[in-house]
């Protein structure tokens, strides 16, 4: 059926053998001669003033080579806490020693005197005036006060008329909302379309609920690690396990005042990232500082426990959501007020709150979101950052409405889904996306229409949307005398993107996939490349690779036209050789012969260049259905069936695409059912796999994946980014299935057994 020979086919990945033989070099596998072991010294309190740091005992320990603190950071950018710590595990200093155990011992010997301060861990407590102010009194108005103050400002600007009466009336109005002065606010975001009040008034059914989504850790299996080596000329080499070597290079340059040309970042094979592996401060900067100070290579590697206390996990949040619809199933209005737990710094994905709009025609929408400081580490991206949380609220509530109006959840969604050209609430107009196709595909595959449920069994459905990012990248392609092709680039491969790039180039140069090899350079040797996050790689690097291959293709035709004495228009590259289209008998010359010939031409060897930065991306949809069975006695939920479909645009390597769908769905399942970073008075209390359970193969059945292909106009061969969408609907899919099974809606994740038992009890079971 396919017009293509290499793209669209399942192929083994380019890194297959090294990954199954243990040969792949991950960050902690790098061991330059003379390497020292670094260790971070961490706060033992979640909120405290630092009175003193005494390193003298640690310095005397044999084997200790250096101890650094914030005083060693030239830019002054916060790498280590100085006067105050804001979370348990915040770094205060770092040591380098000849052995990992000695480094750990030395870290224990550093004596820190604290003055312990009151702690706030809960977002809803942190916004109250009684909460300790983490960064002074950062207050913001809530939605009502904000609107009233905006009106007051507007009136006071109008000088022509006297508005003092109206203004005093509005000021009196403000008094009605004393609780709407929020404390510890790190950021805010607001959007609006239509008039929600009017929309709710016109609705027949209005549902309102509060959804609580926990902070979870990306839990990539390789903890953060970097190895740095500063030589006497000032040149710094960093082996970094990171999604974005170029971002790490500029981050180190900015923090440590080192010129870009003096820093080479070598991206090592990475043990997962999921958005959490972009930070420069966590291990890379301390490793460079320690290496500069000791003149020896230094490895800084986090333990799993350190990952939990000082990683940058996905933010938890509280979303108050209200939806109104008519009896016949039209959604009229939706309003959200969200508080995102951004931890000790700003940066939670608060802008993603807008995703409560889903893929539906909602004429009236209002979204107010706040980032809130608490005594936790900062947060980072996790696979479609912010979307799983917002979509959990949106899709859970949709089922409640469907139930109240007595409509099938799939039909209700299909009826409200946007179509090409429809207005996107607070955001432009909808392109062609396979929303309905994807939902219908999962419903058919799962057997939704004739579903059966035994006692305590239930079915749940949900959809989630996400749009891949896009960023700058460069690719070179070189064709060699044996007809083989080599690719050079600088983007990190985690999930098989190097394979997709190789397939695209093989397709265009019409060579077998096996004749293509790919080299990922470091920041010294590769063209600039955006970080591997936001599902950008296949879209961006795929397009870049296509341009590079087309450039080489052009040169191939030029060379062939010289060799075959005919115009380029008469030539065609097919099956690794250039053919004269009209020649009889056939006349052709192979790529290898052309590459050999090119070496003695004025134009020189066949080198194609591709460079790309931006094109509009197209949204993608993931739709999922779960069938579960809940044991009302123990509260345990067993998944009987989990089916996931996704509009991927075009699947360049179907096996890899399925792998993304399956993996993302299981991460979503875990967020729904088991994962939660828990915090006590003094910080994180479950920093390990015993108390922070992630799923194993024993927890789940096979995930059935269904690929839907509605091409993206600007994607390579129509491909969209596939990594992020599959996690977005699963939280709601599971909650909706549990609701269907036991008749009780759980709005606070994770749906642990004890919560189910409590919910049943409260419901009179």
């Amino acid at each position: 059926m396919s017009e293509y020979t290499v793209v669209g086919q399942t192929v083994a990945r380019v890194d297959a053998v090294e990954k199954v033989t243990g040969a792949a070099q991950y960050g902690a596998d790098v061991h330059p001669p003379g390497m020292l072991y670094g260790k971070l010294v961490r706060s033992k309190h979640a909120h405290a003033n630092i009175l003193s740091i005494d390193t003298s005992a640690a310095e005397k320990l044999p084997g200790v080579r250096a101890i650094i603190t914030q005083a060693d950071v030239p830019s002054g950018r916060r790498v280590f806490a100085t006067d105050k710590v804001l979370y348990l595990g915040e770094p205060l200093a770092a040591v380098a020693a000849t052995d990992a155990d000695i480094a750990e011992e030395a870290a224990e010997l550093i004596h820190i005197e604290y003055e312990v301060l009151p702690v706030v861990q809960d977002v809803m407590a942190a916004i109250k005036p009684s909460a300790p102010g983490l960064h002074g009194d950062a207050t913001k108005d809530g939605p009502n006060r904000r609107d009233i103050n905006a009106q007051i400002r507007k009136l006071s600007r109008e000088k022509e008329a006297d508005h003092s009466d109206e203004i005093s009336a509005l000021e009196a109005e403000l008094e009605k909302y004393p609780d709407e002065v929020y404390y510890n606010i790190s950021a805010e975001s607001h959007s609006e379309a239509g008039d929600v009040e009017k929309g709710f008034a016109e609705s027949d059914v209005v549902v309102e609920d509060t959804y609580v989504i926990p902070r979870v850790h990306q839990t990539y299996m390789e903890p953060h690690v970097s190895v740095a080596s500063a030589d006497s000329s000032g040149k710094v080499t960093v082996w970094a396990s990171t999604q974005g070597p170029f971002a790490i290079r500029s981050g180190i340059a900015g923090t440590l005042g080192i010129p870009l040309t003096q820093i080479n970042v070598i991206g090592t094979t990475m043990g997962g990232g999921f958005g959490g592996r972009f930070g420069v401060i966590i291990t890379h900067v301390p490793a460079v500082l320690l290496s500069q100070k000791t003149g020896r290579p230094v490895r800084v590697q986090m333990t799993r426990e350190e990952e939990f206390v000082d990683g940058r996990p996905a933010p938890g949040c509280v979303i108050k959501l209200k939806t109104g619809a008519t009896h016949d199933g039209r959604i009229l209005a939706r309003q959200a007020l969200a508080f995102w737990d951004s931890g000790s710094v700003s940066g939670a994905s608060i802008g993603s709150t807008i995703r409560v709009r889903g893929v539906y025609k909602i004429p009236n929408l209002k979204v107010d979101a706040y980032g809130v400081h608490t005594n936790k580490s900062g947060t980072a991206a996790y696979r479609a950052p912010g979307a799983p949380q917002a979509i959990f609220a949106g899709e859970s509530q949709l089922d409640e409405i469907a139930e109240r109006i007595g409509m099938d959840p799939v039909k209700f969604r299909l009826m409200n889904m946007r179509e090409e050209g429809d207005a996107v609430p607070a955001g432009g107009s909808e392109p062609k996306v396979g929303y309905k196709e994807t939902l219908e595909a999962v419903a058919d595959a799962a057997g939704w229409w004739d579903r059966e449920a035994g006692e305590n069994q239930g079915w749940g459905v949900a959809v989630g949307d996400w749009t891949n990012g896009c960023g700058p990248g460069g690719v070179y392609v070189s064709v060699h005398e044996d007809g083989s092709v080599r690719i050079f680039h600088g983007s990190m491969d985690i999930t098989g993107t190097d394979t997709a790039i190789s397939q695209i180039i093989a397709e265009i140069l019409t060579v077998p996939y096996k004749s293509v090899t790919i080299t990922r350079g470091d920041t010294d040797s590769a063209p600039y490349s955006t970080g591997s996050g936001g599902s950008v790689v296949t879209f961006t690097m795929g397009n870049t690779a296509k341009l590079a291959a087309e450039d080489a293709h052009q040169r191939v035709l030029e060379l062939a036209s010289e060799r075959l004495n005919t115009n380029v228009d008469n030539l065609e590259l097919r099956a690794g050789a250039v053919h004269v289209i009209t020649a009889d008998p056939p006349k052709s010359i192979s790529l290898g012969e052309l590459a050999a010939y090119s070496l003695s031409t004025t134009g020189g060897p066949i080198v194609g260049k591709g460079s790309f930065a931006r094109q509009a991306s197209t949204p993608a949809l993931a739709a999922q259905i779960a069938k579960v069975e809940v044991d009302p006695g123990t509260g345990r939920t067993r998944v009987l069936k989990l089916v996931a479909s996704q509009d991927v645009g075009f699947a360049i390597n179907p096996m890899a695409v399925e792998g993304q769908i399956e993996g993302g769905t299981v991460q979503g399942y875990a967020w729904a059912m088991m994962e939660e970073m828990q915090y006590g008075e003094n910080g994180n209390i479950n920093p390990g796999f015993v108390d922070y359970r992630v799923p194993t193969s024993a927890d789940l059945p096979t995930v059935e994946s269904v690929i839907v292909e509605v091409p993206a106009p600007n994607g390579p061969y129509g491909a969209k980014g596939v990594g992020e969408p599959p996690i977005t609907p699963t939280l709601a899919t599971m909650a909706n299935a549990v609701k269907d099974a036991i008749g009780v809606r759980i709005t606070e994740l994770p749906i642990k057994p004890e919560k189910v038992v409590d919910a049943l009890k409260n419901n009179g079971h």
């Binding site: 096996m655 194993t696 024993a698």
Partner: protein, 159 residues
């Protein structure tokens, strides 16, 4: 800290080493011998990334002290391929797409090999439970199980 002389056999090679009693077998394999294919994901025995075979049994090497492995036969991921040919489990992982980032893969392959050596006639459900000590964060396990079932089938039919 005082070091102890220890001999162990890893992938058929004998190593005479001086190791501190506090070093784990994982640290000995990775740092002392330089076999870095075995991974460290938690160092608390909970993720399976460090799985190696000691005297025919799969163990998490982060939970074993190096000195206690003295005189024992150890197989790591580096020792699985023989005569340049990949082990059926390794091949199956490639063919089914049983890995993504690959960090859990050595541990999974070793754990699966030990199970298959013991009894390749398990059902998928049995393998799902038997492999419950290994965490993979990328694949969602579907393709890992496919790989293990494929390798089991091959081993059963060629045995």
């Amino acid at each position: 800290m005082a070091k102890h002389p220890v001999s162990l056999t890893v992938n058929g090679d004998e190593h005479d080493l001086l190791i501190e009693p506090r070093k784990t077998l994982l640290a000995v394999l990775r740092d002392t011998i330089g076999l870095t294919g075995t991974k460290e994901g938690c160092s608390t025995g909970d993720c399976g990334a460090c799985t190696v075979i000691v005297e025919g049994k799969a163990v998490t090497s982060c939970m074993v002290l190096g000195v206690t492995a003295a005189g024992k036969e150890i197989t790591t991921i580096e020792g699985l391929a023989s005569d340049g040919a990949l082990h059926p489990v390794q091949r199956a992982f490639i063919e089914t797409g049983g890995y993504q980032c690959g960090f859990c893969t050595p541990g999974f392959i070793i754990a699966a090999k030990a199970l298959l050596d013991e009894n390749p006639a398990r059902t998928e459900e049995e393998f799902r439970h038997a492999l419950g000590g290994n965490i993979c964060r990328c694949t969602g396990y579907t393709k890992i199980l496919e790989a293990v079932m494929q390798a089991a089938e091959e081993i059963r039919t060629t045995a």
